[in-house]
Each structure stands twice: as structure tokens, then as C-alpha cells.
């Protein structure tokens, strides 16, 4: 790598206009990310034409800042309102909202912000130092490996269902079932679409997610109106976390950051998957598993570090191979094309200066996130002082706007409300929506990659064992699966017995 290019990129980023636009971009990102249904991708697409008139470095920095900001801000509403602002923040709800209920919203938000910062920074550094190296790794992940990842992801359902196995599996199964709606990719015909063109490309995952989490929450808030509110009306705890606490969470954040980078790297998986993987691993490595889901701060740090680390991870194939790792990075590639650059493997060499500008912008944006995020989050905390009834109405309104905005479709609004009604029933029946979300995310990935693997492997299951990566992943999946069954405990007690004798 050429040091001159790297430094050139750095000086491009560190101009005054640039820094101010990075701050603005971050603020825009925070706003978009905090709103359920409004995604980073959408905001990037809207902002893109604005950047045509800007200097290449400035335009790219602003876009990168927006992407970074939005990746964090999804957690704000997830923690305060139990409504994930972005799909990637769904896992943050699990422990973030219980913390908020216990009057520790400030602590949860602070940890979320700092974890996002560290996760984002890690991925930025990985991007700067190891992009070409990691880029080659992307090519190792074909359909066969992707299938193994999806299977591994499915085992998270097992760990999420501990203590309530049947409802958990039911919820996961429903998620898988819903994910089969839409075009069958190998025949090109729509399934379970009932002749409705709006269902031909399936149910948009974000639409289902908004309905499942946000609407029930609004209804529950309305039910509670009149009774003394459980959420502390003022945030008494401080937003900036204690150093000792961060230190304790550091191994978790580092692990989650790596999970985020790797997940972002693999084409076909993104922030929504990474956050669940990280959450699951945080739980697996924790000594206090039972406290997860009841307000364990590690359950906030893990998904947040992971989903921000995805930003850099997804940019790695974009930069090293010219292949976008996510829809958001596809738009960033578009921004490069507008500057007259044809994205490809030559991005780091021929167009090095502009590419390193982008990389530095991602790193700079993380610092901007820390500053702007602190102020923005402080403002958002004000939400807890608003009476529940009003908050509920605001949530419903945002859900409707958000679900419409995804595909500009009223049908999606109806679909969202239907998922909302179902989600409300799930709450009343004490069934967690989390396994269903996993099913919805991984169902399509698993099905498509399975079919592709079968075509590639001439209908032989050996194809999965011929790939070392897939074999290892599947073995881990098997272990995780056994860990969630009584069988594992039985073996463990057997070992203990042998040892004591």
C-alpha cells in the first residue's frame, strides 16, 4: 500500500468544510436511524444527488458519516421505546428495553454509543490495514458456506428459547414460514402470494419487524396509561459510562466487533444478522446467562458493537473487489461512479486517494458519532418524560410512515398493521418475537443458498462436507444445537461424575 495515498486521503478528510459536513451527515444519519422504517440505504439514496455538486472527498465523507450515524441510532428507540429504529437494532431491544424499564436508560444508551464507536472504529482500522487481504476471503464464501452460516444462525433460536422451548420454536418456525412467501428463486414462480402482486417478491423483512415490535409496544403503552409509569421520568444515571465498566465490557466489544466485520464481509449477510450472532456469543461466553433478556448491559454492548462494525466490513468487498457488500455500500459505489470512477479491484491502486478518503471518512465519522451522538441521545432521552399515551400515538404514526416509505407502498402499511396485531397477541401469549425475527432474516438466505448448493453439488449432500469452511461452521452449529438440549447437560454431568470419582 502506498503511504502517500493514505496520507493524501487523510488530508482530504481533515478540511474544515469536510469536518462540518461529516458532523451534519452524522446528525442526519442519527435522525434517520432513530426512526423505525427509515433506513440508511434510503437516506443515502436521497442524499446522493446532493453530493454531485460537492468535492468528491466531501461528498463521500458526508455519505459515510450518514451510514455510520444511522447504524448506531437504531438502538435509541430500541432502548427507550422497544421499537428498533433499524432492523440491525432488533437484538438491542432484548436487554436495552428492560434496562430502560429499570430506570437505567441513560446507562444503556451510553454503553450502546460507546460500543458502536469501538465497533465502528475497529472496522475502520480493519478497512485501512487489511482490506485487500480480507477482500480475498470474501471469495471463499459461496452458496455452500452461506448455507452453513445460516444453519449456525438458526441455532440462535435454540439459545433464545431457553426456558420456553415450545413457544420459542413455534415463533422461529413461524418466521421461517413467513419467509417462504414470494418468488421461488429456482423456478421464478411466486409462492403463497395468493395472486397478489405485492407479495411476489416476498414480505419485506423490515415491514414485519416494525409490526412485530413497535405496534404491540404502542398498544401496551396505551394499556398502561393512567397507572403510574414504570419508566423513570428523568434519566438520573449518567450517559457517559464509567471507565471500569467499559473495561469489563471490552472483551465482549472486541469479540462482537470481529463478528460484525466478518458478517459484513460475507455477501448476503449484514447488520441484522451480525447483531444476533454477537448477542448470542455474548450470552454464550457470559457467566451470568440467566440475566440476559432481563437487562444485562453486555446484551446491549454486543449487538451495537457488531452492527456498527458491519459498516467497515461491508465496505471491504466493495473496495477490494468492486462488489458492494450491502445495499448501502452499493449506493456509496454509485457515489464513486458519479465522480467518474469505475469501481473495481483497482479502487485501492488507481483511485487510491479517493478510496482512502472514503476509509478515513468512515474512521472520522466514528469520532463525530461519539460527539454528535452524545448530544442527540441526550435530547432523545426526553421521550421518557412524555406521557405514555402520546408516545404510543407517535410510535404508531412513525410505524405507518416508516412502513410506507420502504417500498412506497400502502399494501406494506396494511401488512405492518397485521404483523402488529399478531405481535400483540404474541406478547399476550408470552411468546417472544425474537426467534421469529431470526427465522425471517435467515430463512431466505438458508433456502436460496441450499438450492444453489444442491445445483452446484449435483444434488449431493457431500457438497457441504467438501468445503472446509462449511464443515467447521456446521460442526459449531451442531455443538450449539446440542448445547441447547438436555443431552449436553447429561454429558456434562457424566464428565463431572467421572471427575469426582
Amino acid at each position: 500500500m502506498d503511504l502517500a495515498l493514505i496520507l493524501g486521503g487523510l488530508t482530504n478528510v481533515l478540511s474544515l468544510t469536510n469536518i462540518s459536513l461529516v458532523l451534519l451527515g452524522t446528525l442526519l444519519g442519527l435522525f434517520v436511524g432513530a426512526m423505525p422504517g427509515l433506513s440508511a440505504t434510503m437516506a443515502l439514496a436521497l442524499l446522493l444527488p446532493l453530493t454531485f455538486t460537492l468535492e468528491p472527498a466531501t461528498g463521500l465523507s458526508m455519505l459515510a458519516a450518514l451510514y455510520v450515524g444511522a447504524s448506531y441510532a437504531g438502538s435509541i428507540a430500541a432502548i427507550l421505546l422497544r421499537t428498533p429504529g433499524t432492523p440491525a437494532a432488533a437484538a438491542t431491544v432484548m436487554d436495552g428495553y428492560p434496562l430502560s424499564e429499570q430506570g437505567q436508560a441513560g446507562k444503556a444508551l451510553g454503553i450502546s454509543l460507546f460500543s458502536s464507536f469501538f465497533g465502528g472504529l475497529m472496522s475502520g482500522v480493519a478497512l485501512l490495514t487489511a482490506a485487500p487481504l480480507l477482500g480475498v476471503m470474501v471469495l471463499e464464501f459461496g452458496p455452500v458456506e452461506l448455507f452453513a452460516i445460516a444453519v449456525l444462525g438458526m441455532t440462535i433460536i435454540g439459545s433464545l428459547s431457553q426456558g420456553s422451548v415450545v413457544p420459542g420454536l413455534l415463533s422461529g418456525g413461524l418466521g421461517l414460514l413467513v419467509s417462504t412467501v414470494g418468488m421461488d428463486t429456482t423456478t421464478g414462480t411466486p409462492r403463497m402470494a395468493f395472486g397478489n402482486i405485492n407479495l411476489f417478491s416476498g414480505i419485506d423483512f423490515t415491514v414485519a419487524l416494525i409490526g412485530l415490535f413497535s405496534v404491540p409496544q404502542a398498544l401496551l403503552l396505551i394499556e398502561k396509561t393512567g397507572s403510574p409509569s414504570k419508566v423513570a421520568s428523568a434519566i438520573k444515571d449518567r450517559l457517559v459510562p464509567k471507565v471500569s465498566e467499559l473495561k469489563r465490557l471490552m472483551p465482549n466489544i472486541l469479540r462482537s466487533g470481529c463478528i460484525g466485520i466478518a458478517t459484513g464481509l460475507i455477501p448476503g449477510t449484514g447488520g441484522d444478522t451480525a447483531s444476533w450472532f454477537a448477542y448470542n456469543e455474548a450470552k454464550r461466553f457470559s457467566k451470568d446467562k440467566a440475566s440476559f433478556g432481563k437487562g444485562n448491559i453486555a446484551g446491549v454492548a454486543a449487538p451495537e458493537a457488531a452492527n456498527n462494525a458491519v459498516v467497515g466490513g461491508a465496505l471491504i468487498p466493495t473496495i477490494a473487489l468492486g462488489i458492494p457488500g450491502s445495499s448501502s455500500t452499493a449506493i456509496l459505489l454509485g457515489a464513486l461512479m458519479v465522480q467518474g470512477i469505475l469501481p473495481g479491484p483497482n479502487l485501492l491502486t488507481d483511485h487510491g486517494e479517493i478510496t482512502f478518503t472514503l476509509i478515513w471518512a468512515v474512521i472520522l465519522a466514528n469520532f463525530a458519532l461519539l460527539v454528535v451522538g452524545l448530544m442527540f441521545t441526550k435530547l432523545c432521552v426526553g421521550v421518557t418524560r412524555i406521557p405514555d399515551g402520546f408516545v404510543a400515538c407517535a410510535i404508531i404514526t412513525l410505524c405507518i410512515i416508516g412502513s410506507f416509505a420502504i417500498n412506497n407502498s400502502f399494501f406494506d402499511v396494511g401488512l405492518m398493521l397485521a404483523f402488529g396485531a399478531f405481535g400483540y397477541w404474541m406478547v399476550k401469549a408470552d411468546i417472544s418475537p425474537a426467534p421469529m425475527v431470526i427465522g425471517l432474516i435467515l430463512g431466505p438466505v438458508m433456502e436460496k443458498s441450499y438450492k444453489q448448493s444442491m445445483l452446484i453439488g449435483q444434488d449431493s449432500f457431500w457438497v457441504f462436507l467438501e468445503s472446509p469452511i462449511a464443515t467447521v461452521l456446521l460442526l459449531i452449529a451442531l455443538l450449539s444445537f446440542l448445547q441447547a438440549t438436555p443431552f449436553f447437560r447429561w454429558i456434562k454431568s457424566l464428565f463431572k461424575m467421572i471427575r469426582t470419582q
Binding site: 443515502l44 444527488p49 428463486t185 423456478t187 405485492n198
Partner: protein, 320 residues
């Protein structure tokens, strides 16, 4: 307050193109329905062409993204629910525009309900393999398929896409049988070929051009009438006696029966675009293969494609 800010953001973003008034007979604003997500291929065309068209016609373009059913939702809206006064047009991707309803009977629109205005881009098909692939020529690849029919894996951008159909066209013309592996888009199909996960990928030149330049992908043949200026050393399939010419094209269409004057204005605008130096240069820089075909010629291009793909589908439908 937040909602106000939100609408304001959306409004400013939508009103982005340069404000101007006047020459287009139908309106001073044209809504462009896009059947795919922002940031995709058709959006790239919009971002490339519309600033120039906006100057020529003196109108504002407003992009409306209605993704879903591989463009089907937007095109159904164009055919069935849009005013036919020249205020609404759509980016039409061929052959997807036709294969959509050829494959799915449930798709309600067809091209007779549209007024084709102009094609702008044609991205020719190309057969690529990974850099470590044992196949160096298209003959190598076909020989392997001949030795063990149905085992050579060929990636495409999805069932119903241009690459899927061009693979079938090659199969019909050569008598060979490939294992067709559908991916979600050209990118993933190219990546799989790059990593050696599949034997070859039927792709499009504009998508994989820079990967070919860097040597990560080897081009075996292009599916064009003549060799391309961009890839002068790559033979056409026609040279190999396989008469298959295919690619993915993007243009603009309006609903049926728009006023003649509006149609004429639009067609003239695209004819002017075809001569616009700055536009052509910018397109070349971005590896877009400009192929402007207007009015009745575009209509002919669409009907020809429709009957060709209809034939192919009828033949292969049962074993798809």
C-alpha cells in the same frame, strides 16, 4: 416536529433536479417510476441521463421508487393506473419487462399497454470464468459440457433475467446442457465465478468490466453482433457459430395512448441525447454501452424480444 423535519427532508430531496419551466408540451414535471431500489442499475441510468434530459426538455424529473416483483409493481402501475398525459413515464428494463409476464401468468400488464419511448443502454452479455479456471476459451467450456452434460455450473442473475434466457439460448443453439444456478443479481453471480464456486457466469459487460480489466475474471465470449471496442480481444459467440446475441437493455416508456405531441417531444429529446457529447463521454467513463433506439424502432425491438422469449419459455417451461 420530527415529522415536519422528515417531510421537509423528503421534499427537498425530491425537488433536487434543477428547476426550470417550459418546453415540454405536456407538463413541466415528469414523474419517473422506477421498479427497483434506489442505487441499482436503473437508478444509475436515471442519475446519468436525467440531468441532460432535464436540460433538453426544460422539465423537472421526480424519481419514484416502487420496488417489488422484479419491476412488476411499477410497470403494472404504469400500464394500469398512471395518467396517460405524458406526466408519468417509467424506466423499462428489457427483457425483464416482458419475461415478467411471460413467466408469471399472474402478472397483469403487457407491453401493448405501454408506449415505448426510447432505449438508452444495452449492456451486452458476456461469459466470464474465474482467473484460476481451467477454461481459457469458450471451446474449453463447451467441451467440458459436452463430456458430461448437465454438470458444468453456469451462474445467472436470476430466473427470468437476461442471463438466464441467454444461457438457454446458447443451450438451444449448441445442443449442450448446463446446470443453471440462479443468483440474486449479476454481482453475486460474478463473485461466485471469481471464487471458483461455479464454472462460469453469464453476466453483463458493464457489471464485470473492471474485474475483467484487473484479471480477476477471464472473459470467454461476448454475446454481441460484433466484437466490442471495450474488449477487442474477446470473440463473439457468433464467430464460434453460435448465433446468440443478448444483453440487458434499459430505456424509457410511457403508458399507452399518450398525446402524440408529448410522445414526439420525448422522442426528440432522446434523439438529441444520442448526439450529446458530454453525456456520451460520461457514459463511456462509467462503462455504459449507449444504444439509443427511439420510437417505433424501440417498439419493434420490444415486440421482437417478446416473441423470441415467449418461444423459448414455451419450450423450457416444463423443465424449469
Amino acid at each position: 416536529m420530527k415529522i415536519k423535519l422528515l417531510t421537509a427532508t423528503i421534499m427537498t430531496a425530491m425537488a433536487l433536479p434543477i428547476t426550470a419551466h417550459g418546453e415540454y408540451s405536456a407538463s413541466d414535471e415528469i414523474t419517473v417510476l422506477q421498479g427497483f431500489k434506489a442505487g441499482g442499475g436503473s437508478d444509475a441510468l436515471a442519475q446519468l441521463a436525467q440531468p441532460y434530459l432535464s436540460d433538453i426538455l426544460d422539465v423537472d424529473f421526480v424519481n419514484e421508487y416502487i420496488p417489488g416483483a422484479t419491476g412488476g409493481i411499477a410497470w403494472t402501475r404504469l400500464a394500469k393506473q398512471s395518467p396517460n398525459d405524458g406526466t408519468v413515464i417509467s424506466i423499462t428494463n428489457t427483457p425483464m419487462l416482458m419475461t415478467n409476464y411471460i413467466i408469471n401468468e399472474e402478472m397483469q400488464y403487457n407491453v401493448d399497454e405501454l408506449t415505448p419511448i426510447a432505449n438508452v443502454i444495452t449492456d451486452p452479455g458476456v461469459i466470464v470464468v474465474g482467473e484460476d479456471s481451467p477454461y481459457d476459451t469458450v471451446e474449453d467450456l463447451f467441451e467440458a459440457a459436452e463430456e458430461s452434460p448437465g454438470t458444468v455450473t453456469i451462474g445467472n442473475s436470476g430466473v427470468g433475467g437476461d442471463d438466464y434466457f441467454s444461457t438457454i439460448m446458447v443451450e438451444r443453439a449448441s445442443g449442450l446442457k448446463f446446470e443453471k444456478v440462479p443468483f440474486e443479481g449479476d454481482g453475486p453471480s460474478a463473485t461466485a465465478a471469481m471464487g471458483g464456486k461455479i464454472d462460469a457466469s453469464f453476466n453483463n459487460v458493464g457489471i464485470v468490466y473492471s474485474q475483467i480489466q484487473s484479471g480477476d475474471l477471464k472473459p470467454l465470449a461476448v454475446l454481441a453482433e460484433e466484437r466490442l471496442d471495450m474488449l477487442p480481444d474477446v470473440p463473439t459467440l457468433k464467430e464460434k457459430d453460435i448465433d446468440v446475441v443478448a444483453g440487458s437493455s434499459r430505456g424509457y416508456s410511457a403508458p399507452a395512448d399518450i398525446p402524440d405531441e408529448a410522445r414526439q417531444d420525448l422522442i426528440e429529446a432522446f434523439e438529441e441525447l444520442a448526439e450529446h457529447e458530454e453525456f456520451l463521454q460520461k457514459a463511456e467513463d462509467s462503462a455504459f454501452n449507449i444504444d439509443i433506439v427511439t420510437g417505433e424502432d424501440y417498439e419493434q425491438m420490444i415486440t421482437d424480444m417478446e416473441s423470441e422469449y415467449q418461444d423459448i419459455w414455451e419450450e423450457v417451461e416444463d423443465d424449469a
